[in-house]
């Protein structure tokens, strides 16, 4: 189990130090600083073993979070906890920065007491935590409330308290996807996958029972065979491109989802936490819609000149608009000057990053744009050839590149008198680029 938890700033100074077990000494704090933060070579592995002690770290902007243990723990669990810890802190005081941590250290210690007990992770649900750890000092609690807290911490539904009431029952659903691609210069897909998340924000009264449906291939096929179309058409909430069903490679759910039901009926039903949470995560690798195609053309003219031409083509419905498009074209290390001409957007040679960065604010579907650059090189006596790193791209599109569609989200609250129709539901799809690269 986790023996201790430390938070460092970028200089390696300790901001928060909480030791849960005796086997972690004070010197562990220094060991991590010396061997990871101040290491000569950048430490890439998130798990470091120093003197029979394991350090698991994540970095948020300039802040290092490190969990320390001497035991053989489940590393995935530790990282899950660290991410949760980040989420909780973000929920309490916004961005994780040195300043914020320094201003909230009492709160952080209080949180650490609550979410880790003798190194065992406890309830880390923000909604639940917020009921008894408050920033606004001591809040007097009635006896009733106190007993509720006990039942909540120990009870079955730890992520939602009872007696929530809203005048307007509202529900926001975001499908956030990031698409990753590696393509050969000839346009052959070398690897591609989409990792997605379904994030919900619910403002619902009482203890509602929800049911979520999407175009999962297994469900669709089963229904197709059964002949019962159910009310699929009726509860279709939105979507962009026409694809019947998608094959999900793997998925994970929030703790509120009843896994037994998912296993038996493949249906996702749950009592949602209040506020914002991540309902599920998934990954697909088949039939991915690649929003952009990059066509590079690099020509070496003698020893001192390089001509680069890059064409990008958008590959989605013309009615949709892609945003925040950025193409990054690496330049050789001995570049001494660059001239760029582009049809659209802005392009600039960034010496500090050894790349030409081409930015386009918006671009509609089924369009094409082009950039051409002349790179002047300084002759060097080095025999090494330029490795030609791939051209990478960033963008944001308003659809799910995996093809996922939300079919329905039903809300039942038998105790209170509001029905599924009274709930206002919002659905949004956002596809972002992950590592989206084309070799040149």
């Amino acid at each position: 189990m986790i023996g201790g938890l430390f938070i460092y700033n970028h200089k390696g100074e300790v901001l928060i130090s909480r030791v849960y077990r005796d086997d972690i000494g004070r010197n562990a704090v220094d060991a991590f600083r010396v061997n990871v933060i101040h290491a000569r070579q950048q430490v890439r592995s998130p798990v470091t073993n120093i003197a029979r002690t394991s350090f698991f770290h994540v970095k948020r902007s300039n802040i290092w979070l490190a969990a320390v243990t001497k035991q053989n723990v489940n590393a995935a669990m530790v990282f899950e906890f660290l991410y949760k810890m980040c989420d909780v802190m973000t929920a309490y005081f916004g961005k994780i920065s040195e300043e914020n941590i320094k201003n909230n250290f009492v709160l952080i210690y209080e949180l650490l007491d609550e979410i880790l007990d003798f190194g065992y992770p406890q309830n880390s649900e923000t909604g639940a935590l917020k009921t008894f750890i408050t920033q606004q000092g001591i809040k007097s609690q009635t006896k009733e409330e106190q007993s509720q807290i006990t039942s909540q911490v120990t009870g079955q539904i730890g992520w939602r308290r009872e007696g929530i009431k809203y005048r307007r029952n509202e529900l926001f659903l975001d499908v956030l996807e990031s698409v990753n691609l590696l393509m050969s210069p000839q346009g052959q897909v070398l690897s591609a996958h989409v990792s997605g998340r379904v994030v919900m924000k619910s403002y619902l009264s009482g203890m509602p029972e929800c049911k979520f449906g999407m175009n999962d291939k297994i469900v669709i096929d089963k229904q197709g065979k059964g002949g019962t179309t159910d009310d699929a058409g009726k509860s279709e909430l939105g979507g962009s491109s026409g694809k019947q069903s998608i094959a999900i490679d793997d998925c994970t759910f929030h703790q509120c989802v009843r896994l037994s039901k998912f296993d038996s009926e493949r249906s996702i039903s749950f009592i949602p936490p209040d506020g914002e949470y991540e309902l599920m995560r998934y990954r697909t690798t088949k039939d991915i819609i690649l929003p952009f195609r990059v066509i590079p053309l690099v020509r070496e003219v003698g020893r001192t000149k390089l001509e680069v031409k890059v064409v990008i083509k958008s590959n989605f419905k013309p009615s949709l608009l892609a945003q925040k498009i950025e193409v990054r074209i690496p330049t050789p290390l001995n570049t001494s000057g660059v001239q760029v001409i582009c049809m659209k957007g802005k392009a600039k040679y960034k010496a500090s990053e050894n790349a030409i960065v081409w930015k386009i604010k918006r671009m509609a579907g089924m369009k094409e744009s082009q950039i051409s650059a002349e790179i002047e090189l300084l002759p060097t006596n080095d025999k090494k050839k330029w490795a030609r790193p791939p051209i990478s791209m960033n963008f944001e599109v308003p659809f799910a590149p995996s093809g996922l569609k939300v079919r329905y989200l039903k809300v039942f609250e038998p105790k209170l008198n509001y029905s599924d129709h009274d709930v206002i539901k919002w659905v949004r799809y956002i596809g972002r680029s992950g590592i989206y690269e084309t070799r040149c």
Binding site: S336, A351, L378
Partner: protein
């Protein structure tokens, strides 16, 4: 020029560096550097030419980036351009970049060399210095090739500035160190030496480093520097502290120069010129006097500088080792330092004293400080100083103070630092042995040593105790008693058990009379330790037990019980099991006589260099060896061949051979066996006997696979002999009926020649008798085993043998014959041992007379014993120049014996080599310029003297076809030896 207005501040560089330092993370730093690199690239690429200032600035930035650990692959050209600038700062940066980032780009090197050449030929001293520094910093072979010829010229030119001369001298030194073959001093030698007379002290200081290095390589060429150095030194020493102005350091005149001068003088022997020598002695005295003066300053730098000169002077005094007065003064001075507050001074004083102790003049003086040194050993806080103190105690030890020093070292050992314990143990062991007057003291000391620091006592140490106890009759009883007492301690170290087992096994009978140490008590005591010991020790104890059976027949049943129990006879360790089985069998079937023969007391070990000394040398490394050797010589202990053989392996070999425990090869029997098997007729009989049955290796058969197997075959092989012999018995030779010794057989001379180059084989054979021989020589001692085989089925009666030394030989050779059983059964074989001691060199061979009755007929037989002078050779390895030096020393006509003779056998290099090795000399490879020739060296060891012999054999294969000739030349310090060896050898080829 615009550059002037900008100044030399290089603001851009300062801004860049502060930017880098302010970076919050590594990523930010890399970004900043990338940006800067792109900027510099665009600047260098830019069409308009850069001025010197910006070039310098960018090259500086590149240098800084490089030093941060990033690769720089451009900018070399710009740096080379800077070299041709006229401004000092620009040139300096250019050279800096070149010396840090130079690579073997041929094109660039050419440009750089060109620029350097220009600067060297310019008359500007700062530019010349810059160029010289660059050459020295790079110091590559290319640089040496280009400038090795140029720099000496600059160094000795009359019009060169002093500062340039300094740089040139040091630059030349560097080039000489990297590629000595390219720096040829030839014509410049004398002028370089005369730099010692230069007005400028800096030049002298720089030049002396160069001269010291050069004169170490070829001292003869620079001999003239001695007198110059002495006069320079005396000028400095006698100068007042204010005379040298800049070169006075805290009131000490030119300390660095003085030290270097003294060090230079240490490369040479004392000057022969009386005046020079007198002056030097005066200088050294002045230095010693100055050490007595009260310090002129309280600053530590003052005393440091003064002491540096003093220690260097003492080192020189020790190096000369010829001025008793100075040596004693140096010793007294060091004695004062022994109690100084400064730890470093104490350390240095102890270290220098170690070397002083080895000089005969100052040895006594060093000894007066014994109390202080012992005190240092006890109270010093720094372990390295304690180590030096221990070294010094070891060095100053002699017969008069050995007991005290050994006692002190032993008592210190209990608290000694772990890192030096093993060395201390070895030293104690050596001192105890070397200066032991009373061997019971020696035994006490070593047993104490084992008790106190058992873990650090190496094998060699306890081997040595046993060797000494066995070789000294007077101490054996005492040793047995002490060991017995030591073993009674409840917990004793395994090494103690080993010594105890061995000694009680050999000499337990000497204390068996006392009821407190009766045989059974002894055995029980040993056996109580048995189960706590490791396998090798247990094996040794088993051997001790079987020896007990021989010594005390009353313990037989007890011991057999022990051997019989499952933990022995079925031990999983094959060695223990085999011993248990074999010893059990041996004790139950062999008669007491056989047991007594097999388990006879160990014969004395041949005297030789102490194996411990070899171990200590090995531990200390080759540097210390020579020291030890000298010491050994001073003590009058003659180091024999074993000590002089180079290389560790032979030393280890020697120490192994002298160890008592794994002594299967104690006499080299195994390796000798195949040689003895050469005559086929004798093979079946002799091989078995030769392979193992040497009586000298009875109980100590650690490695013998077939200890018992070899005891049995004689009956078997005698059967076959019987069958063979019966056929011959009819044709017995006509009996020679005479009681007088028969004259030597006519062929005995030929027999003698057969054994010049080998030690084993069949000496004689007829239908009745076969005589096998096997011999072994160590120094001036030899032991010969004669095996008389009865080839008939009838017994020989009144079998007697005598050895006579005709004429003068009696006084030259001491031959002792052990009596032999007068009855030789048919088909049996008896053995006889002959001990031989060579008193002085001899040329005749002793005569062996054998008489016996065979079927009533008296047989009388005389043979020459194959004992020739060459048997007492000790091989000596030496290098080519060494050999020829000695060869020349032995140039008097009577010392040389030469023979030119026809080859009797084909000229086969391998055969000749084998014969020369068999002769006992060392065959020296690559000594003679003609590879055809053979060159050997050896020392003949006799009791009265040692005779060094050098041999040269020149085969002439081509001269006359069919008539191949040899020329054999022998030179030795004694004419008779040369002659005899020459005669002996001439018959061999």
């Amino acid at each position: 020029m615009p550059a002037v207005s900008k100044g030399d501040g290089m603001r851009g560089l300062a801004v860049f560096i502060s930017d880098i330092r302010n970076c919050k993370s590594k990523e930010a730093e890399i970004k900043r550097i990338n940006k800067e690199l792109a900027n510099i690239r665009s600047k260098f690429k830019g069409d308009k030419a850069l001025d010197g200032y910006s070039k310098k600035k960018y090259v500086c930035k590149l240098l800084f980036i490089f030093l941060l650990g990033h690769d720089i692959d451009f900018g070399h050209m710009e740096a080379v351009n800077l070299l041709s600038s006229n401004k000092y700062t620009e040139k300096q940066i250019g050279y800096l970049f070149i010396s840090v980032l130079v690579n073997s780009n041929s094109e660039l090197i050419r440009l750089i060399n060109n620029a350097i050449k220009n600067d060297l030929s310019s008359r500007n001293p700062t530019f010349m210095c810059l160029a010289l520094h660059c050459i020295a910093n790079v110091g590559s072979r290319e640089m040496a090739e280009a400038f090795a010829g140029e720099i000496p010229r600059i160094l000795v030119a009359g019009d060169t500035m002093d500062s340039v001369k300094q740089s040139a001298a040091l630059c030349l030194l560097r080039l000489y160190k990297t590629s000595p073959d390219l720096v040829l001093m030839g014509e410049w030698t004398s002028r370089v030496v005369h730099l010692l007379n230069d007005q400028h002290m800096g030049v002298v200081t720089a030049a002396i480093s160069l001269i010291t290095c050069l004169s170490q390589k070829n001292p003869d060429e620079f001999k003239t520097c001695v007198s110059l150095a002495v006069s320079r030194l005396s000028r400095i020493v006698s100068s007042a502290s204010t005379d040298l102005q800049d070169y006075t350091y805290y009131f000490v005149p030119a300390p660095w120069l003085s030290c270097k001068l003294l060090r230079l003088l240490q490369c040479y022997p004392p000057p022969e010129d009386g005046a020079v020598k007198g002056r030097l002695v005066e200088c050294l005295e002045t230095i010693l006097n100055k050490a007595q003066e009260p310090p002129k300053s309280k600053k530590v730098q003052h005393s440091n500088a003064k002491n540096a000169i003093l220690f260097e002077a003492i080192a020189l005094i020790i190096h000369y080792d010829s001025e008793p007065n100075l040596l004693v003064r140096a010793c007294n001075q060091l004695g004062q330092f022994l109690q100084h507050r400064e730890t470093n001074l104490r350390y240095l004083a102890l270290e220098s004293m170690c070397t002083l102790a080895s000089s005969e003049f100052s040895h006594e003086a060093v000894k007066t400080h014994i109390e202080t040194v012992i005190n240092a050993l006890k109270t010093e806080r720094d372990v390295s100083v304690r180590q030096r103190a221990a070294d010094l105690l070891y060095a100053m030890c002699d017969r008069s103070n050995a007991k005290q020093i050994v006692a002190e070292m032993l008592s210190y050992l209990e608290t000694a630092d772990y890192s030096i314990r093993e060395e201390m143990v070895l030293k104690v062991a050596i001192l105890a042995e070397k200066y032991a007057v009373d061997y019971s003291w020696y035994v006490d000391t070593i047993l104490n040593l084992i008790r106190i620091a058992g873990d650090y006592v190496s094998e060699e140490v306890w081997y040595r105790v046993i060797q000494i106890v066995i070789n000294r009759d007077d101490v054996q009883g005492y040793a047995a008693k002490t060991v017995f007492e030591a073993l009674q301690a409840p917990a004793c170290h395994e090494n103690m058990v080993k010594v105890g087992g061995y000694i009680l096994g050999e000499f337990g009978n000497l204390i068996a009379g006392d009821p407190r140490s009766s045989p059974l008590v002894q055995f029980n005591l040993l056996h109580s330790k048995f189960h706590l010991c490791s396998v090798p020790t247990r094996a040794l104890l088993l051997s001790a037990y079987i020896k007990f059976i021989n010594l005390f027949p009353e313990t037989k049943t007890t011991i057999q019980e022990v051997l019989r129990c499952d933990s022995q006879i079925r031990n999983s360790d094959v060695e223990l099991q085999q011993r248990a089985v074999e010893y059990l069998k041996l004790s139950s079937i062999a008669s007491t006589d056989v047991l007594a023969t097999v388990l006879e007391e160990m014969p004395p070990f041949p005297e030789r260099e102490s194996s411990i000394l070899a171990k200590l040398k090995k531990k200390k490394g080759p540097g210390a060896v020579s020291n030890e050797l000298e010491e050994g010589k001073r003590e009058g202990g003659e180091l024999n061949g074993a000590g002089e053989r180079p290389g560790d392996s032979s030393a280890i070999g020697a120490s192994n051979a002298s160890t008592p425990s794994p002594s299967a090869d104690l006499l080299g029997l195994r390796s000798a066996a195949p040689v003895s098997a050469a005559p086929p007729s004798a093979g079946s009989l002799l091989v078995d006997v030769f392979s193992e049955a040497g009586p000298a290796a009875p109980a100590a058969s650690v490695n013998d696979d077939g200890f018992l197997r070899d005891l049995e075959p004689p009956t078997e092989s005698s059967d076959s002999l019987l069958a063979e012999g019966s056929g011959d018995s009819d044709s017995a030779p006509p009996s020679v009926v005479s009681e007088d010794p028969a004259p030597p057989l006519p062929e005995s001379d030929e027999l003698l020649n057969k054994f010049v180059c080998k030690n084993n084989g069949v000496l004689f054979e007829n239908q009745l008798l076969q005589i096998g021989i096997k011999s072994e020589y160590r120094q001036n001692l030899g032991r010969m085993y004669l095996f008389y085989g009865n080839k008939t089925s009838v017994q020989f009666v009144s079998f007697t043998t005598t050895v006579s030394c005709p004429g003068e030989l009696q006084s030259h050779l001491n031959v002792q014959l052990k009596p032999v059983d007068p009855l030789v059964e048919g088909g049996a074989q008896v053995q006889q041992v002959i001990n031989i001691e060579c008193i002085t060199d001899f040329s005749e061979a002793p005569i062996l007379n054998i008489k016996f009755r065979y079927g009533g007929a008296l047989q009388n037989l005389s043979l020459k014993l194959p004992v020739t002078i060459n048997k007492f050779f000790q091989p000596t390895e030496m290098a080519s120049n060494d050999f020829f030096q000695r060869w020349k020393q032995l140039s008097q006509p009577q010392q040389e014996a030469q023979k030119i003779f026809k080859a009797n056998h084909a000229m086969d290099t391998e055969v000749i080599k084998a014969k020369l090795l068999g002769l006992g000399t060392a065959l020296l490879d690559k000594v003679d310029p003609n590879p055809e020739n053979f060159v050997c060296a050896g020392v003949i060891q006799t009791k009265s003297q040692q005779v060094g012999c050098l041999l040269r054999l020149e085969p002439n294969a081509q001269a006359q076809p069919g008539e191949q000739m040899y020329r054999l030349t022998l030179r030795s310090s004694k004419d008779t030896v040369s002659k005899r060896l020459c005669d002996l050898l001439a018959e061999q080829f």
